[in-house]
Symmetry: none
Subunit: 249 residues, 2 copies
Amino acid sequence: MGATVTSRALAILGAFDGEHRSLSLTDLARRAGLPLATAHRLVGELQRWGALAREPNGEYVIGRRIWQLGLLAPVQSGLRQAASPFLHDLYGTTLATVHLAVRDGLQVLYVERLAGHVSVPVVSRVGSRLPMHATGVGKVLLAYAPEEVRMEVLQNLTRITAYTVTQPARLLEQLRRVRAEGYSTTGEEMSLGACSVAVPVRSGDTVVAALGMVVPDLRRQLPRLVSALQVAAHGIGRTLTGDPSIQWK
Amino acid sequence: MGATVTSRALAILGAFDGEHRSLSLTDLARRAGLPLATAHRLVGELQRWGALAREPNGEYVIGRRIWQLGLLAPVQSGLRQAASPFLHDLYGTTLATVHLAVRDGLQVLYVERLAGHVSVPVVSRVGSRLPMHATGVGKVLLAYAPEEVRMEVLQNLTRITAYTVTQPARLLEQLRRVRAEGYSTTGEEMSLGACSVAVPVRSGDTVVAALGMVVPDLRRQLPRLVSALQVAAHGIGRTLTGDPSIQWK
DNA sequence: GACGCTCCTTCCGCTCAGTGGAAGAAGAGT
DNA sequence: ACTCTTCTTCCACTGAGCGGAAGGAGCGTC
């Protein structure tokens, strides 16, 4: 059992997540698995440093200092910088929710997002992870992932909606098509009422990211969206190839 | 002298800043003021948890986990949310780099940014701080800051480029004009080849932020840019006034 | 190919920082 | 006035953390 002081402090920070953005001391202690007195002292130190802040209502939230540190993280920073203007253009021409994602292990990690006006149920948030087999960007990344990754993901196709593809053979077929046609689509596989298209972003020969879009319905405008995405992805790729340091562990 | 384990771990994280995004173990130990062996152990723990990551070259950088945590921080989240659509619109109509900044102590803190394609040397990054006297948003925030803040900033006008305003009297005169005319400008005062315009964002009577724009040249289009900025700033202000919780310590 | 330099990793016995049970304070319902 | 919950403070015991020192691992120099 991890009993080092540092691991305890980190356990406190780790108690926060997307659903728990603010926590009381007691919650914090419980979630971190620490005695109240211990949590209290650690929380005090973290707060003094600026890692945590206290809301008017007494609950704790992640502090400004961590926010600033996080912005220094080289999480795809080269990629994000290169992509940023293209994402805006894409948003400008399509007014759809636009995503930039990379593969992180067996999941998709969203590194950038622009939210559209249109009320489509979008689950992703910047910094969140989703399964690969049920998202547009995920299918692209999976299609170009190393064989072993693909195999492991195929073992565990959890059902999310009634339309989620859960048969390995069918998904494999889809992935082959992604490679052949250069784009992937999903239809309400992650959340009802949301469809998506995505294309790979290449730097040289390797696919470093996926660029995707979420819309309520695909049928009519598919070709237009795909070509808009491809233009943007190509632009990002060209910018990247100029840049020597693309972060990818 | 901070000798608690937690404070040491935090000191290690604190060793990173805008100019030092990746550090060797030795640098880290030196900057955090810790013996090498101690730093080594702490760094190991931080890395295991994901607070730090190791680059191929052996240097340490802020890890993905901290990045994710930072995204949960409620830093100006009300303000940023309110501003986001207006920033997009602004970018859409002007295609210039657009900034949203607040005052943090004696510096400008950039809380949001949209980067344009245009190759203008832009120094600011989201989460970074810059001096107030050499940036467009800074001058706006300074113009409306409490007297004491203004005085303290005026004591220390460091020169950055050949055009930086370093005479207190001249800056004061500029600030008076900002208040009178409702916008500020800079001409290559922060970096050569970059000019900027900025306007205040008001919530009720108080100036809560500044909205700015960086362009290669101001002369011809100044009136157009100022009015675009003012429309956006006004919109943000109106959205904010509806919102009860604007984060400002 | 031996030397010197810098940077990283491991070891281990001493000791003081961290621990956490418990008691007290401060609210907020009822 | 009471109970229940959450927060804060206290303090004596003890094992987790400390860090000097020694041992790698590179790399450039002569």
